[in-house]
Protein backbone atom coordinates (compact mmCIF):
# COMPACT_ATOMS: atom_id res chain seq x y z
CA UNK A 1 0.00 0.00 0.00
CA UNK A 2 1.13 3.59 -0.54
CA UNK A 3 1.70 6.18 2.14
CA UNK A 4 -0.87 8.94 2.30
CA UNK A 5 -1.06 12.08 4.43
CA UNK A 6 -4.31 13.46 5.85
CA UNK A 7 -4.33 17.01 7.16
CA UNK A 8 -6.20 17.72 10.41
CA UNK A 9 -6.98 21.22 11.65
CA UNK A 10 -9.52 22.84 13.99
CA UNK A 11 -11.88 23.46 11.09
CA UNK A 12 -11.96 19.73 10.31
CA UNK A 13 -12.70 18.96 13.97
CA UNK A 14 -15.66 21.33 13.85
CA UNK A 15 -16.93 19.78 10.63
CA UNK A 16 -16.53 16.25 12.05
CA UNK A 17 -18.34 17.25 15.25
CA UNK A 18 -21.30 18.45 13.20
CA UNK A 19 -21.33 15.45 10.86
CA UNK A 20 -20.93 12.87 13.63
CA UNK A 21 -23.00 14.54 16.33
CA UNK A 22 -20.10 14.26 18.78
CA UNK A 23 -19.96 17.77 20.24
CA UNK A 24 -17.74 16.95 23.20
CA UNK A 25 -15.96 20.28 23.97
CA UNK A 26 -12.54 18.59 24.34
CA UNK A 27 -12.54 18.55 20.52
CA UNK A 28 -13.30 22.24 20.06
CA UNK A 29 -12.74 24.31 23.19
CA UNK A 30 -9.15 24.83 24.25
CA UNK A 31 -9.97 26.16 27.73
CA UNK A 32 -12.26 23.22 28.41
CA UNK A 33 -9.72 20.67 27.11
CA UNK A 34 -7.05 22.12 29.40
CA UNK A 35 -9.44 22.16 32.36
CA UNK A 36 -9.76 18.37 32.11
CA UNK A 37 -6.00 17.84 31.98
CA UNK A 38 -5.41 17.66 28.23
CA UNK A 39 -2.50 19.57 26.65
CA UNK A 40 -4.84 21.24 24.11
CA UNK A 41 -7.83 20.41 21.91
CA UNK A 42 -7.64 16.82 20.67
CA UNK A 43 -9.13 15.22 17.56
CA UNK A 44 -12.03 12.80 17.93
CA UNK A 45 -10.54 9.30 17.97
CA UNK A 46 -13.27 8.36 15.52
CA UNK A 47 -12.17 11.16 13.16
CA UNK A 48 -8.67 9.65 13.01
CA UNK A 49 -10.20 6.20 12.58
CA UNK A 50 -12.56 7.59 9.94
CA UNK A 51 -9.71 9.10 7.91
CA UNK A 52 -7.78 5.83 8.04
CA UNK A 53 -11.06 4.14 7.07
CA UNK A 54 -11.14 6.40 4.02
CA UNK A 55 -7.65 5.18 3.12
CA UNK A 56 -9.01 1.61 3.41
CA UNK A 57 -12.12 2.36 1.30
CA UNK A 58 -10.04 4.00 -1.42
CA UNK A 59 -7.64 1.04 -1.57
CA UNK A 60 -10.56 -1.42 -1.67
CA UNK A 61 -12.36 0.44 -4.45
CA UNK A 62 -15.20 1.76 -2.29
CA UNK A 63 -16.77 1.62 1.16
CA UNK A 64 -19.07 -1.22 0.08
CA UNK A 65 -16.00 -3.51 -0.04
CA UNK A 66 -15.00 -3.01 3.60
CA UNK A 67 -16.05 -6.01 5.74
CA UNK A 68 -14.24 -5.38 9.01
CA UNK A 69 -12.29 -2.51 10.46
CA UNK A 70 -10.84 -2.12 13.94
CA UNK A 71 -8.36 -0.03 15.90
CA UNK A 72 -7.23 0.96 19.37
CA UNK A 73 -6.93 4.59 20.36
CA UNK A 74 -3.44 4.62 21.80
CA UNK A 75 -2.51 8.32 21.76
CA UNK A 76 -4.63 11.45 21.35
CA UNK A 77 -3.99 13.65 18.30
CA UNK A 78 -3.39 17.14 19.69
CA UNK A 79 -4.58 19.90 17.34
CA UNK A 80 -3.31 23.38 18.35
CA UNK A 81 -5.06 26.50 17.03
CA UNK A 82 -3.90 27.58 13.57
CA UNK A 83 -1.91 24.38 13.15
CA UNK A 84 -2.22 21.71 10.50
CA UNK A 85 -1.42 18.29 11.89
CA UNK A 86 -0.31 15.62 9.44
CA UNK A 87 -1.67 12.13 9.94
CA UNK A 88 0.58 9.71 8.05
CA UNK A 89 -1.17 6.49 7.03
CA UNK A 90 0.29 3.37 5.48
CA UNK A 91 -0.45 -0.32 5.38
CA UNK A 92 0.43 -3.81 4.26
CA UNK A 93 -2.09 -5.98 2.43
CA UNK A 94 -2.08 -9.79 2.56
CA UNK A 95 -4.47 -11.97 0.60
CA UNK A 96 -6.58 -14.27 2.76
CA UNK A 97 -9.23 -16.62 1.28
CA UNK A 98 -10.07 -14.26 -1.57
CA UNK A 99 -10.20 -11.22 0.70
CA UNK A 100 -7.43 -8.88 1.80
CA UNK A 101 -6.26 -8.41 5.37
CA UNK A 102 -4.83 -4.91 5.83
CA UNK A 103 -2.44 -4.06 8.67
CA UNK A 104 -2.48 -0.30 8.98
CA UNK A 105 -0.29 2.30 10.61
CA UNK A 106 -1.29 5.84 11.57
CA UNK A 107 1.28 8.23 13.01
CA UNK A 108 1.60 11.92 13.87
CA UNK A 109 5.17 13.27 14.14
CA UNK A 110 6.41 9.69 14.10
CA UNK A 111 4.22 8.66 17.06
CA UNK A 112 1.66 5.91 16.61
CA UNK A 113 -1.87 7.19 17.30
CA UNK A 114 -3.82 4.04 16.41
CA UNK A 115 -2.78 0.60 17.58
CA UNK A 116 -3.68 -2.78 16.06
CA UNK A 117 -5.42 -1.03 13.17
CA UNK A 118 -6.71 -3.73 10.83
CA UNK A 119 -9.24 -4.18 8.11
CA UNK A 120 -10.67 -6.99 6.02
CA UNK A 121 -11.72 -5.97 2.52
CA UNK A 122 -12.85 -7.31 -0.82
CA UNK A 123 -11.06 -5.91 -3.87
Amino acid sequence: MQERIFKIDRELLKRYANASGDQNPIHQDEAFAKSVGLPDVIAHGMLTMGLVGQYVSDWAGGSANVKEYSARFVKPVVVPANAVVELVVNGVATEENGLYRLELTATVDGVKVLGMAKALVKK
Partner: protein, 129 residues
Amino acid sequence: MISPDSVGRTYQGAGSTTISQSEITGFAAVLGESDFSVATPTFSIRTSLDQLQEILTGPEVGINWERVVHGDQKFEIHRPIVAGDVLTCDATIESYRVAAGNEFINVKSDLRNGDEIVCTNWCTIVVRA
Protein backbone atom coordinates in the same frame (compact mmCIF):
# COMPACT_ATOMS: atom_id res chain seq x y z
CA MET B 1 -18.64 1.41 39.28
CA ILE B 2 -21.28 -0.02 37.01
CA SER B 3 -24.03 -2.17 38.40
CA PRO B 4 -22.60 -5.75 38.61
CA ASP B 5 -25.90 -7.17 37.36
CA SER B 6 -25.42 -5.43 34.03
CA VAL B 7 -22.48 -7.59 32.88
CA GLY B 8 -23.68 -10.17 30.37
CA ARG B 9 -26.96 -8.41 29.86
CA THR B 10 -28.36 -7.06 26.60
CA TYR B 11 -30.11 -3.71 26.58
CA GLN B 12 -32.47 -2.70 23.85
CA GLY B 13 -31.94 0.88 22.72
CA ALA B 14 -35.01 3.08 22.85
CA GLY B 15 -36.52 3.83 19.48
CA SER B 16 -35.03 3.65 16.02
CA THR B 17 -33.04 5.94 13.75
CA THR B 18 -33.98 6.49 10.13
CA ILE B 19 -30.82 7.11 8.14
CA SER B 20 -31.04 10.01 5.72
CA GLN B 21 -28.97 10.60 2.61
CA SER B 22 -27.84 13.97 3.97
CA GLU B 23 -26.35 12.30 7.08
CA ILE B 24 -24.49 9.78 4.92
CA THR B 25 -23.28 12.50 2.55
CA GLY B 26 -22.28 14.90 5.33
CA PHE B 27 -20.28 12.26 7.19
CA ALA B 28 -18.55 10.96 4.04
CA ALA B 29 -17.70 14.45 2.76
CA VAL B 30 -15.84 15.37 5.97
CA LEU B 31 -13.63 12.30 5.55
CA GLY B 32 -12.93 13.12 1.90
CA GLU B 33 -15.20 10.52 0.31
CA SER B 34 -16.92 11.49 -2.93
CA ASP B 35 -19.09 8.37 -3.43
CA PHE B 36 -22.21 8.89 -1.34
CA SER B 37 -24.12 5.79 -2.49
CA VAL B 38 -23.39 3.89 0.73
CA ALA B 39 -22.23 4.96 4.19
CA THR B 40 -18.48 4.96 4.91
CA PRO B 41 -17.18 2.16 7.19
CA THR B 42 -17.24 4.15 10.43
CA PHE B 43 -20.59 5.91 9.84
CA SER B 44 -22.49 3.57 12.17
CA ILE B 45 -20.66 5.11 15.15
CA ARG B 46 -23.21 7.93 14.87
CA THR B 47 -26.00 5.53 15.72
CA SER B 48 -24.24 3.08 18.02
CA LEU B 49 -22.53 5.67 20.23
CA ASP B 50 -25.75 7.65 20.66
CA GLN B 51 -27.69 4.57 21.67
CA LEU B 52 -24.83 3.33 23.81
CA GLN B 53 -24.68 6.60 25.72
CA GLU B 54 -28.37 6.33 26.42
CA ILE B 55 -28.09 2.75 27.63
CA LEU B 56 -24.89 3.14 29.68
CA THR B 57 -25.92 6.34 31.41
CA GLY B 58 -29.39 5.01 32.21
CA PRO B 59 -30.24 4.06 35.79
CA GLU B 60 -29.62 0.34 35.25
CA VAL B 61 -25.92 0.73 34.36
CA GLY B 62 -25.22 4.22 35.59
CA ILE B 63 -21.83 5.40 34.32
CA ASN B 64 -20.68 9.03 34.26
CA TRP B 65 -20.37 9.87 30.54
CA GLU B 66 -18.24 12.95 31.24
CA ARG B 67 -15.38 10.69 32.31
CA VAL B 68 -15.67 8.36 29.35
CA VAL B 69 -12.97 7.91 26.73
CA HIS B 70 -13.01 5.58 23.76
CA GLY B 71 -10.51 2.72 24.16
CA ASP B 72 -10.98 0.77 20.97
CA GLN B 73 -13.50 0.15 18.25
CA LYS B 74 -14.31 -2.66 15.83
CA PHE B 75 -16.84 -2.67 13.01
CA GLU B 76 -18.09 -5.84 11.38
CA ILE B 77 -20.06 -4.63 8.39
CA HIS B 78 -22.50 -7.24 7.11
CA ARG B 79 -23.70 -4.85 4.43
CA PRO B 80 -23.17 -1.12 4.01
CA ILE B 81 -25.72 1.23 5.54
CA VAL B 82 -27.80 3.09 2.96
CA ALA B 83 -30.30 5.94 3.14
CA GLY B 84 -33.70 4.73 4.28
CA ASP B 85 -32.39 2.11 6.71
CA VAL B 86 -34.34 2.21 9.94
CA LEU B 87 -31.83 1.12 12.55
CA THR B 88 -32.39 -0.16 16.03
CA CYS B 89 -29.47 -0.88 18.31
CA ASP B 90 -29.07 -3.23 21.22
CA ALA B 91 -26.00 -3.34 23.40
CA THR B 92 -24.58 -6.28 25.34
CA ILE B 93 -22.11 -5.60 28.11
CA GLU B 94 -19.68 -8.43 27.42
CA SER B 95 -17.11 -7.81 30.11
CA TYR B 96 -16.00 -5.36 32.75
CA ARG B 97 -12.78 -4.82 34.66
CA VAL B 98 -11.19 -2.17 36.84
CA ALA B 99 -7.47 -1.35 36.56
CA ALA B 100 -5.75 1.47 38.45
CA GLY B 101 -9.16 2.93 39.23
CA ASN B 102 -10.16 3.10 35.56
CA GLU B 103 -13.17 1.05 34.50
CA PHE B 104 -13.04 -0.85 31.19
CA ILE B 105 -16.40 -1.83 29.73
CA ASN B 106 -16.54 -4.02 26.63
CA VAL B 107 -19.75 -3.58 24.72
CA LYS B 108 -21.06 -5.28 21.61
CA SER B 109 -23.78 -3.46 19.66
CA ASP B 110 -25.93 -4.98 16.97
CA LEU B 111 -27.51 -2.54 14.54
CA ARG B 112 -30.57 -3.99 12.88
CA ASN B 113 -32.79 -2.95 10.01
CA GLY B 114 -35.90 -4.95 10.83
CA ASP B 115 -34.64 -8.49 11.50
CA GLU B 116 -31.45 -8.05 9.51
CA ILE B 117 -28.21 -7.33 11.38
CA VAL B 118 -26.53 -4.67 9.24
CA CYS B 119 -23.50 -4.01 11.38
CA THR B 120 -22.01 -5.35 14.62
CA ASN B 121 -19.82 -2.94 16.56
CA TRP B 122 -17.58 -3.69 19.50
CA CYS B 123 -16.02 -1.03 21.65
CA THR B 124 -14.16 -0.58 24.87
CA ILE B 125 -15.46 2.33 26.87
CA VAL B 126 -13.05 3.55 29.53
CA VAL B 127 -14.40 5.45 32.51
CA ARG B 128 -11.43 7.38 33.85
CA ALA B 129 -10.73 7.36 37.58
